[in-house]
């Protein structure tokens, strides 16, 4: 390229300016990424560091396996967090049992059965549902669902695992439904055509061809829904009853990890076993949620390789 001296110097000025702004932007992006990593790492580190102090005062076996949560500031205090771990596991399972069939049903309906116009109405509605703040679900659960559950089961109180699982199911439905919907939609059309060509009915095509092909996407949808169910606090604390006891039935007030943390964390002194025990509950939730997300990544990577 032919250039005069003056344009060359202009060009090099522009060149340096671009080089400079590129560098600044690059460092800014790198800095942003590093800040995020540092924050995440410090959260995990701080929660863990404070949490493990519990075990200077409480035996590990007592903490995880005892069902006697009776914290306090004297000798008789016991820190059996077993009820909360069991409660969280039961609540998450119950939520998935209710929500997975329905949300996968919605996904199949949207991707395979519904006419285009209906698809275009239902999908934005599901997207809107994801954005509803959890306190609204909790409030509706408290004022409408809990009295209703009490009436149906003939109990005095409707608070408990069932009410919480119903509220959570409603909350995770759109998450699981929409991601499953996308992954079913992504199954190549030729799979369906091949199935039909071999004489499959629509039902057979869905169950034996489409769903297995979209399996990984659906599993990661379920896991993402599960992390939301695990960590949800506001809605749960309003409908679970908040009593540290093992639920003997689905409509008995009980407690889970998140609801117990939020009920008590404000009321305990900073330097106390009680506070450490609550921090360790938070740490456990954090670790489980992170592991589940790592698991989703692995599934997605493997499906890309295939």
């Amino acid at each position: 390229m032919q250039q005069t001296n003056s344009t060359a110097s202009k060009m090099s000025g522009r060149h340096w300016r671009l080089m400079f702004s590129d560098q600044v932007f690059k460092w800014f992006c790198l800095f942003s990424a590093i800040v995020l990593c540092v924050v995440l790492f410090s959260i995990v580190f701080f929660m863990g560091k404070t949490g493990v102090l519990t075990f200077e005062f409480v035996k590990v076996t007592e903490y995880f396996f005892s069902l006697n949560w009776n914290p306090g500031f004297d000798e008789t205090a016991t820190y059996g967090a077993g009820i909360f771990f069991i409660g969280t596991i039961l609540l998450t399972l119950l939520t998935l049992i209710i929500s997975v069939p329905i949300s996968v049903g919605i996904a199949v309906f949207l991707a395979e059965i519904a006419p285009t116009r209906l698809k275009e109405t239902v999908r934005p509605i599901l997207d809107l549902l994801v954005g509803i703040p959890s306190v609204i679900y909790g409030f509706l659960g408290l004022t409408i669902l809990v009295p209703f559950v009490a009436k149906v089961f003939g109990t005095q109180l409707g608070d408990g695992l069932l009410a919480a699982a119903l509220v959570l199911s409603l909350m995770v439905l759109p998450t699981i439904g929409r991601i499953s919907d996308d992954s079913i939609e992504a199954v190549p059309q030729k799979y369906r055509e091949a199935a039909y060509a071999m004489g499959c009915t629509k039902l057979q095509t869905i169950f034996f061809v489409v769903l297995p092909a979209a399996r990984r996407g659906i599993v990661s949808a379920i896991i993402l829904g599960m992390t939301r169910a695990l960590g949800e606090t506001m809605a749960v604390v309003m409908v679970i009853g908040n009593v540290p006891q093992l639920a003997e039935s689905l409509v008995q007030p009980t407690s889970v990890l998140t609801s117990n943390i939020v009920m008590q964390i404000m009321a305990v002194p900073f330097e106390s076993t009680w506070n450490y025990a609550l921090f360790f509950m938070g740490f456990s939730l954090l670790v489980v949620a992170l592991l589940l997300i790592v698991f989703v990544r692995i599934i997605n990577n493997r499906s890309e390789v295939q």
Binding site: G72, L142, G241, V243, Q245, V262, M263, Q264, V268, F270
Partner: protein, 280 residues
């Protein structure tokens, strides 16, 4: 020499008059307030009125929970810690904070509440204690319908719970489990639960008693502001501003202002607390 001395004296006198004058006009300094969320609206109003009169005082007010008030004063992050009970004494569940001084803000009445469909209108202290400790479990045992009693409690650390346990239940240990027992995470959840659960019993700040629930008499005395003032209704407590030692400077000026007539007869009454001067 003499001249210089006279000039110096004059200057010194002038400066000291100026300084005294400035001090008399306003106080300066910064005050951080943290603690009870029940007292937060009152503290925010007090901040507004106080800083309008004393523009050289910087104030920061926040509300988390009662226990965080005295805690943050002890740690030195706040000059005033608001608390729904006197944190310089032992209360059920909480040890006293040594070295803190309690300064009264206002009196807060509490009420025992049941669903409005419940025919019971009065409970004695002993009946309440028996209900909350699980000895009485059916409304028919206290003159009501043949229906199980649903005990609704507030979470540990709630100022309402501390006061109610101390004044209404005489410090008794409340039951901790059962199918007809639940803990409400806030006054709002307490109100909704009692409103929607026919056989529930609970307790709440008197000002939060609304439709769908009714406040019970205690030993035959109705829960009214008048009965708190004439001391026949005992379920009430003071809200406190805890300070590290006796308050000084701007902090003292603020506390004097909150306890003064203008604020007590103004904002305190308007926000439905009872002025501290009203109770003899």
């Amino acid at each position: 020499m003499k001249k210089i001395t006279i000039v110096m004296l004059a200057v010194a006198m002038f400066l000291s008059i100026f300084a005294i004058g400035a001090q008399a006009r306003t106080v300066s300094g910064s005050i951080t307030i943290n603690g009870s969320s029940a007292l937060l609206p009152l503290m925010l109003q007090a901040k507004k009125e106080f800083t309008a009169r004393n523009p050289r005082v910087k104030m920061a007010v926040s509300g988390t929970s009662s226990i965080s008030g005295p805690q943050s004063v002890r740690r030195g992050v706040a000059q005033i810690g608001t608390c729904d009970w006197d944190a310089s004494t032992n209360v059920p569940g909480f040890k006293k904070f040594d070295g803190l001084v309690a300064n009264k803000v206002a009196a807060i009445p509490f009420a025992t509440i049941v669903n409005s469909a419940n025919p019971v209108n009065n409970l004695t202290q002993q009946q309440l204690i028996d209900i909350y400790t699980g000895k009485i479990t059916n409304w028919s045992q206290v003159g009501g319908n043949d229906a199980p009693i649903v005990v609704v409690n507030r979470a540990f650390g709630s100022g309402t719970r501390v006061n109610y346990t101390a004044k209404a239940l005489n410090g008794a240990t409340i039951i901790r489990s059962g199918a007809n027992y639940k803990e409400a995470s806030s006054s709002g959840v307490m109100a909704t639960t009692v409103r929607t659960t026919p056989n529930a019993i609970g307790y709440i700040d008197l000002v939060y008693v609304t439709s769908g629930m009714k406040a019970l008499s205690f030993n035959g005395v109705a829960p009214t502001v008048a009965n708190v003032i004439n001391k026949s209704y005992p379920i009430w407590g003071y809200g406190y501003m805890m300070t590290k030692g006796q308050p000084t400077g701007a902090t003292k000026a603020f506390i004097d202002f909150v306890q003064g007539k203008t604020f007590q007869n103004g904002a305190v009454k308007k926000m439905k607390f009872i002025p501290i001067g009203a109770i003899k």
